[in-house]
């Protein structure tokens, strides 16, 4: 529980810093923050085994930190520097780490779903006992390729867990306005894929559901869908003024359902740690994040020679 708390706090502080750097002009382009949704990725990651793959869309900073990628490398990619995971050539939406089994970071809404399904196919083909966890949002849930993937995943009983991060808004369009069936966990029904709704603001509930889904997929029963009911506090991207919802709505969730505050309360109640210890932890995390920002600022821009590298694998 403490380590989950720490992981969630790292994501929160990292994203706050990223937002700050964006405001300073150090991060450019699109930048989609994960603030509010931290319990989803941290709870799921806690249910995975070494070697399981993770793939997601463009709101990906949290996933990268949760899989153990180095905050320095992630932040330096956000600033487009040589020290970034893609050496500055990918940016916020396109980062990868083969070492940490993080397969991106995909900028086209829904494109990661067939890709995650294909990763699961490679696991089954190799009989390596690994599963693929494929994250997508409530917006991507309306893309056709998601259902093409569901169909194939079930036909072939591929070891994949689909995690729908339902943060209620596809950019500015609420689930109610975009989806004829708003219970997204039911979207697998016509493919015979079991699904369940999970309180995505509660890291413990997320972890328990993910453990069950992972076991289902790993033991050869095919795909499983988890709909995580969650919420993003910030706009869709940094340039989104979020006029489609009220300040009160955001404040209400923030004050009553915040995943980090919720975890903190449980930790204090159970006596896993006291206020002082948590404050100390927060301070350590702030230092990690501050260091990553320094690294991301100081790392040089990519050498102009990099322009023509990595287009094709030579030889």
């Amino acid at each position: 529980m403490l380590s989950w708390y720490k992981d969630m706090l790292l994501i929160r502080r990292f994203e706050e810093k990223a937002g700050q750097l964006y405001g300073m002009g150090l991060i450019a382009g699109f930048c989609h923050l994960y603030i509010g949704q931290e319990a989803v990725v941290v709870g799921v990651q806690g249910a995975l085994e070494e070697g399981d793959q993770v793939v997601t869309g463009y709101r990906d900073h949290g996933h990268m930190l949760a899989t153990g990628m180095d905050p320095n490398g992630v932040m330096a990619e956000l600033t487009g520097r040589e020290g970034g995971y893609s050496r500055g050539k990918g940016g916020s939406m396109h980062m990868f780490s083969r070492d940490k089994n993080f397969f991106g970071g995909h900028g086209i809404v829904g494109a990661q779903v067939p890709i995650g399904t294909g990763l699961a196919l490679s696991n089954k083909y190799k009989e390596n006992g690994k599963i693929s966890v494929t994250y997508f949002g409530d917006g991507a849930a309306n893309q056709g390729q998601v259902y093409e993937s569901f169909n194939m995943a079930k036909i072939w009983d591929l070891p994949v867990v689909y995690v729908i991060e339902n943060n209620q808004y596809a950019m500015g369009t609420s689930v109610k306005r975009s989806s004829s069936e708003t219970h997204l966990y039911k979207r697998g029904v016509s493919f015979n894929i079991p699904g369940e709704e999970v309180d995505g603001m509660d890291v413990v509930a997320v972890n328990e559901a993910a453990a069950k889904a992972a076991e289902h997929a790993r033991s050869g029963n095919g795909p499983y869908i988890l709909e995580m009911k969650t919420y993003r506090y910030r706009g869709h991207s940094m340039s989104d003024p979020a006029k489609y919802r009220t300040r009160e709505e955001v404040d209400d969730i923030r004050s009553h359902s915040d995943p980090i505050e919720g975890a903190k309360k449980k930790i204090l109640e159970a006596g896993y740690a006291d206020e002082d210890a948590l404050k100390k932890m927060d301070k350590e995390i702030k230092e990690i994040v501050s260091d990553s920002a320094d690294f991301a600022r100081e790392s040089p821009e990519p050498n102009p020679d990099e322009l023509y590298t990595d287009v094709l694998i030579e030889g």
Partner: protein, 485 residues
């Protein structure tokens, strides 16, 4: 008059077939819908049903006869009120051109589906009208390997192979060699391939490695990309590249770009293959050349072979390549046969063009099916006008072998770029630009382009012929750049 039973066309491109078996004999009564015979084409064995009622009078074609032309009369049925004496009165209808197919080789009828070029030639009355698309000139069948190709050891025998079988052999050999190679696509396994290119792969490799997908191009292209990220080596077959438009986001945004966007981490060793270009009388949505679409994209390799040896050697190379490769085949070439070196491991270099005909007066570039037209045009130019064309088969469109092209133009000083697709922003436009930039001072005439008419491909036979580029168009363009009337 007895009722004529004609050899049926069983696919848009079928021109002849083998009458494998008769299921009826003279004297049998048949009703419409009864299976009367079995016909084999190079793709499949199919049953022939009677379309009219009657008594079988006479079987005109024996069992196991090969090369029976479509629309040839294969049997005669007697009407209710007729007896066998009617057979004696029967003479093949003179006013029925379709019935002549069996006896003559009238190309204008038999080639009507795919022979746009031969039609144009016969209108022109040129010598090339003797040859059809399906009879490749001798020098093509025995084309010499180019300098970039691996040496063929002395004593290596040549095996006459259809393009579809060469492609199949390439996949089978690579699947034997590397456990990570597998094939997925629509009808690739149990059906044995919509165009029989994956024939018998299921039997040899099983359903783990030969995977039938639902009709879901966008989805399975992405699944293939994911499997490639997972270190497998998928061969994704599109039933045709027309359907790959559903999947083009995954091909370009996921397969082609991810290596770059990941700073070199995410190699995607995948082959997207299938028939590309105009088929025959299937209309605009099923007849399109995507060469320039894919050749436009950095991060992809794009191959479009002409003959069986190149199809095999380049597909093997594509499967081994660590990058995403778009491999454009041509439906109308699948049944063509060419010599393939009977070697254990025939692999050709990607990115190398092949000079198919040496000439001094102009350079003609072409790829895929257009290479055959270019060679035919070159023969006519030589025989009728004394113009010697150098014909370059591009083979790979990305990376483009500009050196071979530019070197050739520096020698010949004239250029015609032929392609089946649309001209605007096309392969020929690119080649013309490269040559103009790199060999401007050598050019004695502006480069000319031969391409499809700037319209969606029409269905009507005459309009389709007018739309597609053929031998006559290449000849016209070649004469123009040589300033010959």
């Amino acid at each position: 008059m007895p009722i004529e039973v004609l050899m049926p066309a069983l696919s848009p491109t079928m021109e002849e077939g083998t009458l494998a078996k008769w299921n009826v004999k003279p004297g049998d009564t048949v009703s419409s819908g009864d299976v009367i015979a079995e016909i084999e084409t190079d793709k499949a064995t199919m049953e022939v049903e009677a379309v009219e009622e009657g008594t079988v009078g006479k079987l005109l074609v024996e069992e196991s006869t090969e090369g029976v032309k479509v629309n040839a009369v294969i049997a005669l049925l007697l009407d209710e009120d007729e007896d066998e004496s009617a057979l004696d009165d029967y003479t093949p209808g003179e006013d029925k051109p379709e019935a002549q197919g069996a006896a003559s080789s009238d190309e204008s009828t038999d080639e009507s589906e795919s022979g746009s070029a031969s039609q144009k030639e016969s209108e022109k009355g040129g010598e090339a009208s003797e040859s059809s698309d399906h009879k490749q000139p001798e020098r093509v069948r025995h084309a010499q390997p180019s300098a970039s190709d691996p040496e063929i050891p002395e004593g290596t025998s040549m095996k006459e192979t259809a393009v579809r079988d060469a492609l199949r052999d390439a996949m089978a050999e690579e699947m034997r060699r590397d456990e990570a190679v597998f094939v997925m696509g629509e009808e690739v396994a149990e059906y044995q391939g919509a165009y029989k290119v994956t024939r018998e792969l299921l039997q040899e490799f099983g359903d783990k490695r030969v995977i039938d997908t639902p009709i879901t191009e966008h989805g399975f292209a992405g699944v293939g990309v994911g499997a490639a990220f997972g270190k497998l080596k998928p061969i994704v077959e599109f039933m045709t590249f027309n359907f790959a438009m559903q999947a083009i986001d995954q091909i370009i945004n996921s397969a082609a770009k991810t290596l770059y966007m990941s700073g070199g981490q995410m190699g995607c060793p995948i082959v997207f293959r299938g028939p590309n270009g105009a088929a025959s009388r299937v209309g605009a949505q099923h007849s399109q050349d995507y060469s320039s679409w894919y050749a436009h994209v950095p991060g992809l390799k794009v191959i479009a072979p002409y003959d069986a040896a190149d199809a095999k050697g380049l597909l093997k190379a594509a499967i081994r390549d660590p990058n995403p490769v778009v491999f454009l085949e041509h439906e109308l070439m699948y049944g063509e046969t060419f010599d393939v070196p009977d070697m254990e491991d025939w692999v050709l270099p990607i990115g190398k063009a092949k000079v198919r005909r040496i000439g001094s007066d102009l350079t003609i570039t072409a790829h895929s099916r257009m290479v055959g037209y270019a060679l035919e045009a070159a023969e006519t130019l030589s025989q009728e006008h004394g113009i010697e064309a150098e014909v370059i088969d591009l083979r790979t469109l990305r990376p483009l072998d500009t050196k071979t092209i530019v070197d050739s133009v520096k020698k010949t000083n004239r250029l015609v770029c032929a392609e089946e697709g649309w001209g605007q922003h096309g392969v020929g436009a690119e080649i013309a630009a490269v040559v103009t930039a790199e060999a401007f001072d050598y050019l004695d005439a502006p480069p000319a382009r031969v391409h499809q008419a700037d319209v969606p491909l029409p269905y009507a036979a005459n309009l389709e012929k007018l739309s597609l580029p053929g031998v006559a168009d290449i000849i016209t363009a070649a004469k123009a750049v040589c300033y010959v009337d």
